[in-house]
Amino acid sequence: MTQTNRLDGGQIDRNTSLSFRFDGRNLTAHSGDTLASALLANDVRLIGRSFKYHRPRGLLTAGSEEPNGMVELRTGARKEPNTRATTIEMFDGLEAYSQNRWPSLKFDALAVNDMFSNFLSAGFYYKTFMWPAAFWEKLYEPIIRRAAGLGSLSMEADPDEYDKGFRHCDLLIIGAGPAGLMAALTAGRAGADVILADEDFALGGRLNSETFTVGDHSASDWATQAVAELSSMPNVCLMPRTTVIGAFDHGIYGAVERTGDHLATLPEGKPRQILWRIYTQKALLCAGATERPIAFENNDRPGIMMASALRTYANRFAVTASQRVAIFTNNDDGHRTAADLHAKGVRIAAVVDVREDAPSSYDYEVLKGAQVTNTKGRHGLSFVEVSLPDGSTRTLDCGALGVSGGWNPNVHLTCHQRGRPVWNEALAAFVPGGELPVGMSVAGAANGIMSTYGALQSGAEGAAKALDLTDALPDLPEAEDAPIAQTPFWYVQGCKRAWVDQQNDVTVKDVKLSYQEGFRSVEHLKRYTTLGMATDQGKTSNITGLAIMAEVAGKSIPEVGTTIFRPPYTPVPIATFAGRMKGQEFHPTRLTPSHFWAKERGAVFVEVGNWLRAQWFPQPGETHWRESVDREVRQTRASVGVCDCTTLGKIDVQGTDAAEFLNRIYANGFAKLAVGKTRYGLMLREDGMVMDDGTAARLAEDHFVVTTTTANAVSVYRHMEFVRQCLCPDMDVQLISTTEGWAQYAVAGPNARKLLQKIVDPEFDISNEAFPFMACGNVTVCGGLRARLFRISFSGELAYEIAVPSRYGDALMRRLMAEGEEFDVVPYGTEALGVMRVEKGHAAGSELNGTTTALNLGLGKMVSKKKDSIGSILSEREALVEPDGLRLVGIKPLEAENKITAGGHLMNADGPVDAAHDQGYVTSAVYSPILNSNIGLGLVKNGSERLGEKMRLVSPLTNLTVEVELVSAHFVDPEGERLRA
């Protein structure tokens, strides 16, 4: 099909012909087109359906403010709903589909809503659908939900890549129209680092849409030359296709660069979009202005568009919406459109100007003091009815109507912090005012300066002022400088259905009803009618709605107020904010030095924070994880096992006050710990709850190595720095994390020493006498490699932890396995570790849940009263020391094979089962292959005094009730003989 509405001229490349599809129809376009201009060129006016009444909708604008012309772009997993046809840069093979219609765009079943529109007035749903109560969920809401929404998602994962980046500059210029280009030239020539960003793929803004001249050039040629000069400057960064979406605190701007949306397919590894965080002391907003409509009867038909948009389509894209066009305006700008279209051979049915004193034209008829009172045309405009001053009416045949109600400055970014726009009477519009974001200034039409020369001038001045440039401003080219005065004309009186917000179907009547029902503050109006809540965020409707509210309230517009604009300026794909942080890369993955060895051994891994830890090591023939774990536990307790505990936090504490420092951060004492010894340390938060536990090994008078749990390594280090810098600023103590530097392995079991003696160099005596329980020190292994040895035990067995520099961890683990063969050594994972610590009754993560005190955990005696340590005072509060408070106990089912559940609650042996009679809960539950029984740990009211008591463990969530007995938490070797062996 040929492009019947294509005109001469324009800034499209007629040598390249692109083919695209809309709703399955094959159509052609040129590069330089948008989907919108291409559709118009092919005489496609009907593009979508409105949100509520499913009225036929076409294009209203030629820019990102478009409320109506939305499509589903691309197909499959790349389907992109609600995409504005006006912002889609044409590419060969583009596919788009209309949305929010069924079964087809022309025949939409839900268009029936339009017939009942009178019943679907603003907020009607708050007043009905209440009876019978059950029907809301089952009937009404599902219907509403299906009808609502616009486009649909593919439900497939987005296959594209997205990047995030950072840029810095002296001046960020937002918008590359006359003001922005002039500002960039001024700042760039002065040598400043400039970023010039514009949402359009062609820089120039309105200059590309107008026929007048700048200097001796056409407006668009001048823009092209300016861009050429700017791109030759190394200190200027031009960012077309980049929308500055928000102004955030302290000069940080969010900007979205669409690097791939204009391509049929993305090159491998290239991002579709980039989220830039732009850091700048100064920003100059040159975002231009948006033309505002006039509301009148049936003003929403396809073909009824903004006058300036018709001009853009004609001058930039060489397209007319129809061969026969009428204009409805309240200002001279509407006449510009008529003149430009006429000059391009488009038939002007008439210019309808509400002003009695409107300018005349020799080229076409001007109906002065006239108003458009109605329009006709089912799927597109066919004619408009005009009422003349003398009361008579005229009918104008036309396929398009250009509407111009004046211009609203694009103040959006000035409101992103605390700024409130102020009403400018002469312009009859809001202009930036109040508190702008620090460092931001505004130039050109965005600041209410509507002439081209004024824009050029304020752009140059704005840049100079922002950068404190002293040298003279560059000479400005001559350009149109028509004074602008607007007499507002918001809507045609007496109309029945005149659209204010076209996407959400909010009419003049809805606004008036909102007032009638008491929803009179702007925020109430917005929320009650949904005015301005659509995907265009009311760029073409908010001010009009406000004006109507002001009129019915008998107030001035500023008295009624303004709704403030929030980021983003235009909608941004959620994936763009996520960038590369998705899938496996969502968070960094931390691997231990022997990870690759464990992988070879077929280990099953588990996420612990960002770490991957071996959970268990399945052997051939083992079908259930329990078999592997039971074996690992049995073999460790019977002979020897090795566990990678590199992930434990390690903090190097040095300085002459190191011991005193540990005294402060630990509840128990460290001052007297001998060099060469290790001690268990209990750390409280200042509120008295247990924060973390670990060990501190004294390697020298002034040198400790502290361990933390894997989960709390970061927060404990932060806490220690807080105490060091903020509470004890004069202590001589230095901290640094060494978690990553050392690969550390627990070697546990009766044969642990025998195995280590084959690893540790012979000159080091690690016999029980020379290296007793809780000893520590530096040794060398495997013929001279420096290592650290700690005789500590989490499993309750004779155990050591040995640490070597990380790069040798893999080799040491392999060596331990090789040397351990004679002892049938077994590597064990976190599951076996967990089983053994429960058997031993050690509290861990699930007991240290942030709400337990030392007393709760049976460690009350560790909290020294004789020294100043974090948390000791608040841990004494009355409720925290109540005798019937929770205490840690062991839990054993009466029938060994009965499973018990962590998270189950404990109830007395008899009596009601409900929250009021809750006695406590199970924190940890495992199967002990040593005791051949399920066992657990729990926190029970006054538990330590109730050992031997029978209770009911209930977990209604998992349909479980088990009879259990409270026992000592130390299931295995309560005297601790093994670990001292």
């Binding site: 019943f119 007035s121 007043k127 189950g904 409900d914």
Partner: protein
């Protein structure tokens, strides 16, 4: 005027001329039995229950701006009662029951939609914690279900099961949970309170509390002094500012919580979903927008706006959990100022000042609590004793060590 489908039809046929303002615009009287400071959800709900349940009609609600402009006007609309601790669960379950009958109670359709909520878990430790919580819910008379990964996949096939950094291991579900139309909640309570005689006074900022010999006599406002036998403060977000007028320091910090909404989409999400390995929760509104949020920005602020790092953090969580929303566009972001309390739980209590009562510290759990908060605060104001389900929300609990700390992060508000 009663609302009903018939009424809507009747008005439609007679040009909608009969619709009256939903609330009056009265001038303040010199004195009320009870003045409630704050025309947000909780203040309006308090007025509704005071007048309808406890028979107090000589009541005023004073609001510095427009009613419903507090956090009830800017939240993610989630209603649930899936709490773990004894101090909380009975209260939120009470609230849930009030939600379930709210439309009929108010004769206003707040579009309470019991679509369910699922809290996903990704580790055994999380599973155990959710098991404990789910059991607590059931033992308190609420509903809860534990799903394994396969069951989750059946209900939410579009979640990331194949390329997840933190694989989904299951979820805790509360079927009765859901969402409600947040603005309508405020308007419904306001309309009912107004119908029961309560004066709702907008654009009336409280500038001071008149306190003599330890007794609160009323409030100084931009519309003059308003006397009252009792003054109830329900201004979460600004609690420290208002109670500061009574010389009180609170166990509260003000923080901003950002929320986000996408462009309208055809239905994709069947329920509310909460990610367990990142800061992201989401539901879909009746209009089709994905309404989502995450963590607070984390620094003290009274500004109703946040910053980019949290926006990115939330979206990273969203894409990690449900990569199919990647091409849905974020339409609007906003921030609400939260009363972040020292244990993450609220306060509904008398104060050392006679006749002055306090309701606040709601953190980001305020919306779901709206009916119960209003009911319990009304009970306290009317009877001078706490409602049975709100006895734990005492002001002095931090002094006695009776914190209600669901998260177990202690006295650091920005971690709750």
């Amino acid at each position: 005027m009663r609302y009903s489908g018939f009424r809507v039809i009747k008005e439609a046929l007679t040009g909608h001329k009969g619709w009256k303002p939903v609330w009056r615009e009265p001038e303040p009287k010199a004195h009320y039995d009870i003045v409630v400071i704050g025309g947000g959800g909780h203040g309006l709900a308090t007025a509704h229950y005071l007048s309808k349940v406890y028979g107090h009609r000589n009541v005023a609600v004073v609001e510095k701006g427009w009613i419903g402009g507090g956090n009830v006007g800017r939240n993610t609309t989630i209603v649930r009662s899936n709490y773990m601790l004894d101090g909380n669960e009975p209260f939120y379950e009470f609230s849930m029951k009030l939600w379930e009958g709210l439309e009929q109670d108010l004769n206003y359709n707040a579009m309470m939609s019991q679509r369910g909520i699922i809290n996903l878990f990704h580790t055994d430790g999380q599973r155990d914690a959710y098991t404990r919580r789910g059991n607590a819910m059931i033992l308190n008379g609420a509903d809860a279900e534990l799903l394994d990964a396969d069951q989750v996949r059946k209900e939410h096939p579009y979640l990331n099961f194949d390329d997840a950094r933190f694989p989904i291991k299951g979820g805790l579900v509360q079927r009765r949970a859901g969402t409600a139309r947040h603005d309508a909640v405020a308007w419904g309570f306001a309309r009912s309170a107004d119908l029961h005689g309560v004066d709702i006074i907008q654009n009336c900022e409280v500038t001071g509390l008149r306190i003599e010999n330890g007794k609160c006599l009323g409030v100084e406002t931009t519309k003059g002094f308003i006397g009252a036998n009792k003054v109830g403060c329900a201004v979460a977000g600004s609690s420290s500012r208002v109670m500061g007028m009574a010389g009180m320091r609170l166990p509260i910090e003000s923080h901003v919580l950002q929320a986000f909404v996408s462009e309208g989409l055809k239905p994709v999400l069947p329920s509310v979903i909460t990610f367990g390995a990142g800061h992201f929760y989401v539901s879909q509104s009746d209009k089709g927008g994905l309404v989502f949020g995450g963590d607070i920005d984390g620094y003290n602020t009274y500004a109703q706006r946040g910053n980019l790092p949290v926006v990115e953090d939330v979206c990273e969580g969203g894409i990690a959990l449900m990569p199919m929303i990647g091409r849905a566009r974020l339409l609007r972001m906003w921030g609400g100022v939260m009363d972040m309390s020292m244990d993450g739980s609220p306060i509904i209590d008398r104060t050392p000042v006679e006749g002055l009562y306090f309701n606040g510290g709601w953190c980001y759990g305020g919306f779901k609590a709206t009916p119960a908060s209003g009911h319990c605060f009304a009970h306290l104001l009317a009877k001078d004793e706490p409602h049975p389900v709100a006895t734990a929300y005492r002001l002095d609990r931090f002094q006695t060590g009776r914190m209600i700390d669901e998260k177990g992060v202690g006295n650091q508000p920005n971690l709750h």
